[in-house]
Amino acid sequence: MFDQDKWQEIFQTLKQNKLRTVLTAFGVFWGIFMLIIMLGAGNGLRNAVFYGFENFATNSAFTWTRRTTLPYQGFDRGRRWNFTTQDMIALRENIPEIKYLAPRLQGTSKGSIAKVTRGLKAGDYTIYGDYPDYAKIDPQKILTGRFINDYDIKYKRKVAVVGTRVREVLFDKEEDPLSKYIDIDGVYFQVIGVFKPINTKISFGANPEELIYVPFTTSQIAFNHGDIVHYFAITAKDGVPVSVVDKKSKALLKQWHRIHPDDDRAIGGFDLEQEVKKVNGLFTGINVLVWIVGIGTLMAGVIGVSNIMLIVVKERTKEIGIKRAIGAQPETIIGQIILESVFLTAVAGFAGLTIGVWLLELINMALTASGGNSGAFRNPEVNFGIAFTALVIIVVSGAFAGLLPAQRAISIKPIDALRDE
């Protein structure tokens, strides 16, 4: 219900000392403003970090072989071993939780980095032999042409998908790279596509723009890899943590290759899910810190309001006495003071919230205008839930700020209040 008298009194009190009102309100304003800005900045950092692998299948893991460290079944330690294509088939059969399994080969017969030439143009690039499924784990943006497909695998076609940097170096600007041939360590490959990496934050040593993908089966033959597999990229089915699949597959691989079950160092691995969890944990920490500092700043503002309300109550002791003498009940007086306090904090807080969000939006616009991809900071924002939480905090803290002064106003007996000159 809108009670004109109540509001008239509130405005009257706030108007009586404008400077004081503004300074008090500023405390709350600043509290909320800082909270919003800090939360926005935290989100900006988070977005910047996660931007690098937003499309990467986060429930994926990579596995590779290393030298054994424990003797087992007659084998000495320090043995080198390799995954094989048999493992690939066996893993698919034995672990139903696997969604995608992509075996990978790296490098040519001459080394892990190949010399790639086209006429007089040349560069050193990392070559991967891949299955089409790899694109589902680590999606690429295909600018022109296509990625490797099942027929490439089946017919062991000598085709290559090159990164944007490779294209820039080996081809002229206006030249169409499709169907042209490039020389990879002495073997000619036809370019079937150009890709731009999406997941810039994840790479295995090489710059993702300087990669060349060729069919797995072609790589086996052309580069003399035989039956071995360098990596397995595994994705778990939805709802299954990849760590479960990773553990199962490692156990099976050890068994098939006669590796000691406790020889964890014989298999190298990288569990993306764990990495994401670590980063998430870091940002949860930052978020907690932001809330603690923000709430602290807000508290300081609210205590300021409470303080001023105490002074207001003191100034108005006589008036409160008069009102009580003519029949105002204690609740009415308490309600009035709390409403005044809530009103002051709500207006100031709302202003802080609005200006904070507005400033974030402005920063966002500036970032977008300047290319939008500055490494450490991206798309600072606060979501509606947080804004709403902040509003609730403002109102509740306003009520708390009014509580003590209101209690003080009531504790003075009406007769003492009337005597107060």
């Binding site: 004109q4 008298d5 009194e9 009257q12 006589k318 008036e319 008069i322 009102k323 009580r324 003498a325 003519i326 029949g327 105002a328 009940q329 204690p330 609740e331 009415t332 009531i410 007996k413 009406p414 007769i415 009337l418």
Partner: protein, 239 residues
């Protein structure tokens, strides 16, 4: 209407105990116009405050409209004050940021009467006080007599049974004082009990009954000594 039986009240200031009321026995009937006199410190204001349920007492009993007033919650006290008692103060005690009309209407606000209705009633009372044209003036634009008439209108608006006036003419000049007293007489004639605390003889003489307090006891009513312990004391002033 009002009955005190052996009423005691002390104030404790630090380690000192000040015994202000030392056993007041008094009955005020409905429709009386009474003045309470006494030098400062005689306990007249304390008695008035207890009557107005603004203050509590230590011993004895106080009946208002045959209701025992004792150990009230502040909520109940506020309700009773609003319903039974109208206050008029020496310093008017109008609320400075409300105009005359709003000041008069305020008690009805606490009775949750709608704004429109209470302003209508308030205007009616202001008219009775001859202040219709001043309804929308702020208190600081009114003269002392006008302020007091606004305060009286405010005290009347709830149709109380008792009007308590604490030195209502203390801040007014003589002719205005007499005007205000005429208003109190009119109020009294409408059946409302009026109790005026004053130390001015001419004001007291315009009431129907004069109660003199001295050292926390009733010394005399209309000049007749009531407490034997005061018999030997010379009463200097004419009564």
């Amino acid at each position: 209407m009002i009955r005190f039986e052996n009423l005691h009240k002390s104030y404790i200031t630090g380690s000192n105990k000040l015994h202000v009321l030392k056993g007041i026995n008094l009955e005020i009937k409905e429709g009386e116009l009474i003045s309470i006199m006494g030098s400062s410190g005689s306990g007249k204001s304390t008695l008035l405050n207890i009557t107005g349920i603004l203050d509590n007492y230590d011993e004895g009993s106080y009946y208002l409209d045959n209701m025992l007033i004792s150990n009230m919650s502040e909520k109940k006290a506020a309700m009773l004050r609003n319903k039974y008692i109208g206050f008029v103060f020496q310093s008017f005690n109008l609320i400075s940021f409300k105009n005359a009309l709003e000041n008069v209407a305020l008690p009805l606000y606490y009775q949750k009467v709608s704004r429109k209705k209470r302003n209508l009633i308030a205007m009616e009372y202001l008219e009775k006080m001859g202040l219709k044209e001043w309804a929308h003036h702020m208190p600081n634009e009114l003269s002392g007599g006008q302020k007091q008439r606004v305060a009286i209108a405010r005290s009347l608006i709830t149709r109380p049974k008792v009007i308590l006036a604490d030195e209502p003419t203390g801040a007014l000049d003589t002719s205005t004082s007499y005007e205000v007293m005429e208003i109190f007489k009119e109020i009294n004639q409408s059946g409302i009990t009026v109790i005026i605390v004053t130390h001015e003889d001419d004001i007291a003489h315009r009431t129907n009954k004069i109660i003199r307090l001295r050292d926390g006891l009733i010394e005399s009513i209309n000049g007749e000594l009531v407490n034997p312990e005061f018999v030997e004391t010379e009463i200097s002033e004419h009564v």
